[in-house]
């Protein structure tokens, strides 16, 4: 069982971090949560470990989102206080471009419905159709349809944003 867990860890850890990052948008937090996922896997020894780790990751990300909302409310209450950390200056144009591209895709992803987004992210994390169906509660036959819709919407949303930025630059 320990060998299975080790193999799972070696093959899945990065995908779990990426999956979590796309939900919490904080690389450090995503790593913390990913480690928490695998620590729980040690304790629970799940039967279907691959599906299990992504299910737990999704739950942890959901909890994290709730607490982030609470934190934001708290920060709103403290808005009159001066910011402690000044934003770091950007060193290179490349970094700015990367950030812009990141923001555009993030915004495009945010336009998907929660179900489409979840299915797309699970597929990108490497889960099979049956595993995605198992985790999301969708019928196996609905996964292809959902993925087709999610892909089209993501690309369309991204292209709309790109076009609007392009128009703004030329006007």
């Amino acid at each position: 069982m320990a060998d299975e867990l080790e193999e799972l860890y070696q093959t899945t850890y990065t995908a779990v971090v990426r999956f979590l990052y796309r939900k919490v948008w904080d690389a450090d937090r995503a790593e913390d949560l990913a480690q928490e996922v695998f620590l729980r896997a040690f304790a629970h020894r799940p039967e279907k470990p691959r599906s299990w780790v992504f299910a737990v990751a999704a739950n942890l990300a959901r909890d994290e989102a709730r607490s982030a909302i609470r934190r934001r409310k708290h920060l709103t209450l403290m808005a009159s206080e001066p910011a402690v950390l000044p934003s770091a200056p950007r060193a290179a144009d490349q970094a700015v471009e990367d950030d812009e591209r990141h923001a555009q895709v993030q915004a495009a992803l945010a336009q998907l419905t929660p179900r489409d987004r979840e299915v797309l992210l699970l597929w990108d994390a490497g889960l099979s159709y049956p595993e995605i169906a198992d985790q999301t509660g969708l019928a196996l036959g609905a996964i292809g349809t959902t993925l087709a819709r999610a892909r089209k919407r993501l690309v369309a949303a991204h292209d709309r944003q790109f076009d609007s930025v392009d128009d703004a630059a030329h006007s």
Partner: protein
């Protein structure tokens, strides 16, 4: 000719179909340019999606080693076990205290002049050392000759008394010549069960304790007994006994056996029980005999006390 639905082409490209389905689709694609074009468009969409999602990747870092994570998991398991152990210990103690409290409540709600009986018991204890104890108490129907008691040297107690602690071993009660238990079962009429003053203990020899109570006091085999204290049975609940024994390391531990209510009181009442206030810990176990508890108390780690408890229970079974 039936064209291939879009979702099936997605599933085909995602390798989510069976081998038979794939063969069927590939056969159709070879003969249908429209579906082949659709497949190419979906493949491009799929690649584009993957590319976009690649943008949303966290900075690459070296993940912690599996061994590191396994060690963390082991530490967490140990913590969980420790928390569970403490919770179980606390629950057992609270349970015992609760039973004792309920018992006490039921006793005080029952018939009979309980406070008067206690007063009588105290008077009895005070007068027991005088030449005519029975006449003074008014609760014993006939004079009883004092039983000679072999003095037992109590171990010197160096632990400072801490008011805030919950456990307490009172200094041993003065040696008293209280009597009546030895008379049970004799050819005379048995005495009525005597109300025992709370906190009044008789220090007796091992043999006398066995003879008077009719049971073997609790003890750990192989350790010298330095003190035996008893409170006789009240009703059918059996006697309350505390046996002090010295470990090879010099520490004194006390094994306590008695009715649930009485053992519970030892741990709740300070200053009147043989259980001392100190950094002591207690291991408690229920006995197969109904409504009786067995406890070990001493300045030892909880694990050691539990091991001693296991040893003592095993010894009792073997006996």
């Amino acid at each position: 000719m039936r064209h291939i639905p879009e979702d099936e082409l997605h599933a085909y490209l995602d390798q989510a179909l069976s081998r038979g389905q794939c063969v069927e689709i590939e056969t159709h694609l070879a003969a249908c340019p429209a579906c082949a074009a659709e497949r190419d468009a979906i493949a491009a969409l799929r690649d584009r999606t993957t590319l976009l999602l690649t943008t949303l990747a966290p900075p690459r870092r070296i993940p912690p080693s599996f061994a590191e994570l396994a060690a963390q998991a082991a530490g967490r398991r140990a913590q969980r076990r420790e928390r569970l152990r403490v919770a179980l210990w606390a629950a057992s103690l609270v349970g015992a205290l609760g039973i004792g409290y309920a018992w006490r409540g039921s006793e005080s709600a029952g018939p009979g002049p309980q406070p008067a009986a206690r007063d009588g018991g105290a008077g009895d204890a005070r007068i027991a050392a005088s030449p005519a104890p029975a006449a003074a108490t008014g609760t014993i129907s006939r004079p009883v000759a004092p039983v000679p008691v072999t003095p037992v040297t109590a171990p010197s107690r160096t632990t400072p008394h801490r008011g805030g602690a919950s456990l307490a071993l009172v200094p041993p009660a003065p040696v008293m010549a209280r009597t009546a238990m030895s008379e049970f079962g004799s050819d005379t009429l048995p005495l009525e069960p005597q109300p025992v003053a709370e906190g009044v203990w008789r220090t007796v020899t091992w043999d006398n304790a066995q003879r008077e109570t009719g049971v073997t006091p609790p003890r750990l085999d192989g350790l010298p007994v330095v003190q035996v204290q008893v409170q006789p049975s009240r009703g059918n609940s059996g006697p309350l006994m505390v046996v002090a024994q010295q470990l090879h390391s010099g520490e004194v531990i006390r094994t306590i056996e008695g009715p649930v209510a009485d053992v519970s009181k030892l741990f709740t009442r300070r200053g009147t029980s043989p259980v001392e206030t100190a950094e002591d810990t207690v291991a408690v176990a229920a006995l197969p005999e109904h409504d009786r508890l067995l406890a070990i108390q001493g300045q030892l780690p909880p694990d050691s006390l539990r091991a001693l408890m296991r040893r003592m229970r095993l010894g009792r079974r073997l006996h």
